[in-house]
């Protein structure tokens, strides 16, 4: 019988982290930004059916970079968690903080368990408040930690560079069109510093809009409305709820 090699716990964890990070870096980056009326999710996604962003509950949205089957699993788990909690108690008792906690516990347990391979995902859970001060954005890396973010956050392959780009330029109270433009600018920058064009049809955009009259604040921005926002001058405030641009 062969003797197994000794691997120090530090080394084992470092290897697992490396594995997860590499998986995440293979995917395209996405960004989540606060703007005056809510929170906007922007990412490059050639698929119109496989979404990176989705609705979890009334005021809570979800974004993920990394391996599709793993984050889709976590997304559905989150929807089940939120719906069950809202049904048990009340709709108000479902919070992004609670959900982020559950995700962190889940990712953390999987990360440090030798029986499972680490998830190659990085999540963002965001909740839009009644006022901008109430907005919450949590970033959840692969290892089960939680980072409470403000203003803007980027996850995925090129996240560090995009984050610092956004940090310098993002300010409170931007309009949706301004925030969207900034996000697209940030995503267009490649690792080597060159810029490339991302056509509107490759963009996936969604908002949590606090001005929506419905209880469910999540809305995808597609088609003409997206084109209009991308063309709009930075300071032209465009309402997100024009009746002619309902979802597909």
């Amino acid at each position: 019988m062969s003797t197994p090699f000794y691997v120090s716990p530090q080394q084992a964890m470092a290897d697992r982290a490396e594995y997860a990070r590499k998986g995440i870096a293979r995917g395209r980056s996405l960004v989540v930004l606060q703007y005056a009326d809510g929170i906007v999710f922007v990412g490059e996604n050639p698929s119109r059916a496989l979404h990176k962003f989705s609705e979890i509950y009334d005021r809570i949205g979800f974004a993920a970079a990394g391996k599709y089957n793993e984050y889709e699993n976590l997304r559905i788990g989150g929807v089940r968690y939120a719906d069950l909690r809202g049904y048990t108690y009340d709709r108000e008792d479902v919070t992004a903080r609670g959900l982020a906690n559950v995700y962190a516990q889940t990712l953390g347990t999987i990360f440090s368990s030798n029986a499972e391979k680490p998830y190659e995902v990085e999540l963002v859970v965001a909740e839009v408040g009644a006022r901008p001060e109430g907005d919450q954005i949590y970033r959840l890396p692969h290892d089960g930690s939680i980072v409470d973010e403000h203003g803007s956050v980027a996850v995925g392959g090129n996240a560090e560079q995009i984050s610092s780009f956004l940090d310098q330029r993002h300010r409170d109270g931007m309009t949706l069109a301004e925030a969207l433009k900034l996000a697209v600018q940030a995503l267009s920058r490649d690792t080597n510093g060159t810029e490339r064009e991302i056509p509107a049809e490759r963009l996936e955009v969604a908002v949590l809009d606090r001005t929506r009259p419905q209880e469910r604040k999540f809305k995808r921005i597609v088609g003409r409305q997206l084109a209009r926002l991308l063309e709009a001058d930075g300071d032209a405030a465009t309402p997100t709820d024009t009746p002619s641009d309902t979802e597909e």
Partner: protein, 281 residues
């Protein structure tokens, strides 16, 4: 792992298992005690006294459908509640109005709303209107045990069919039997009178405004002849709930709109207590 939504541990395995997009299926697997149909009722002699909701009416018009209900709940011969709400949005394009045991009905509506929302979030697309109507059927059927003890829930379901581009109405019986109604429908204790009223007034080319008037007239006639149905309560400013579902989605008439509607009808009834007359031939 212990399956407990109240704790903040990691997600239990059931939450991460790929499976059905139905919230009811998930509850059935994971927390069956929370499903209304799974409760074991002790055998009771006689009828259980609990508040009952009364009359719901619906009528379709070329651009959509109207669903409305009176505001009374009764318990035996007593008025249990004067301002109960029995018409609810089910999702953006449909609504459900419930006659029968109020407590069970409200729970059923909550679960039904969640069922539709859950499917929409998981699948990224809405159920078809038929699909929604069938889900409601299943829920009523699971309440059959209670219904046989006198705690029936009999809803009326109305919605805008996005594919066929028209408003549709579905009625149910206590066993979950579902049938699509043409034009208009009513359920609850005052439904006989409401249906009679609509039979004489309904035309299939009514406008939205005329249809809302029609259903409030029908509720007035139901309240006129059925003691369990409440008419417009001018003193307390309690008026029927009227909802409209069109291509634009669900809309509930505001307090001001429904009060104006009910008052205008009341005014005419002061001169003509039996309401508008239909032609003899």
């Amino acid at each position: 792992m212990e399956a407990n939504p109240r704790s903040t541990g990691r997600l239990p395995a059931a939450f991460l298992t790929p499976g059905s997009s139905s919230f009811m299926d998930f509850l059935g697997d994971h927390a069956p005690e929370m499903l209304p149909g799974r409760r074991v009722m002790p055998p009771v002699k006689g009828v259980i006294e609990a508040p009952h909701g009364t009359t719901i009416v619906a009528a379709a018009f070329p651009g959509g459908v109207v669903l409305a209900g009176d505001r009374r709940a009764t318990m035996g011969n007593m008025i249990a509640q004067r301002d109960i709400e029995k018409v609810f949005p089910a999702d953006e394009y449909s609504a459900v109005g419930i006659a029968g045991t109020a407590g069970l009905a409200v729970e059923m509506v909550r679960l039904f709303q969640l069922e539709l929302e859950h499917f929409e979030k998981v699948e990224g697309a809405q159920l078809s209107l038929e699909g929604k109507a069938n889900r409601l059927s299943t829920m009523i059927r699971s309440n059959l045990g209670m219904a046989m003890q006198g705690l029936a829930v009999v809803p009326l379901f109305a919605g805008w069919d996005v594919d066929r581009e028209k408003g549709r109405i579905f009625s149910y019986d206590v066993t979950g039997g579902r049938s699509e109604e043409q034009g208009y429908a009513a359920t609850g204790s005052g439904s006989i009178f409401a249906r009679g009223s609509m039979k004489k007034l309904y035309r299939d080319d009514l406008t939205e405004q005329q249809t809302t008037t029609l259903v409030v007239q029908a509720l007035y006639d139901a309240a006129d002849d059925d003691s369990a149905t409440g008419g417009p309560d001018v003193a307390r400013r309690i008026y029927p709930i009227v909802t409209v579902i069109t291509e634009e989605g669900f809309r509930r008439l505001t307090e001001a709109e429904s009060s104006e509607l009910a008052r205008s009808i009341l005014e005419r009834r002061l001169e003509q207590p039996d309401g508008p007359r239909a032609a003899l031939l």
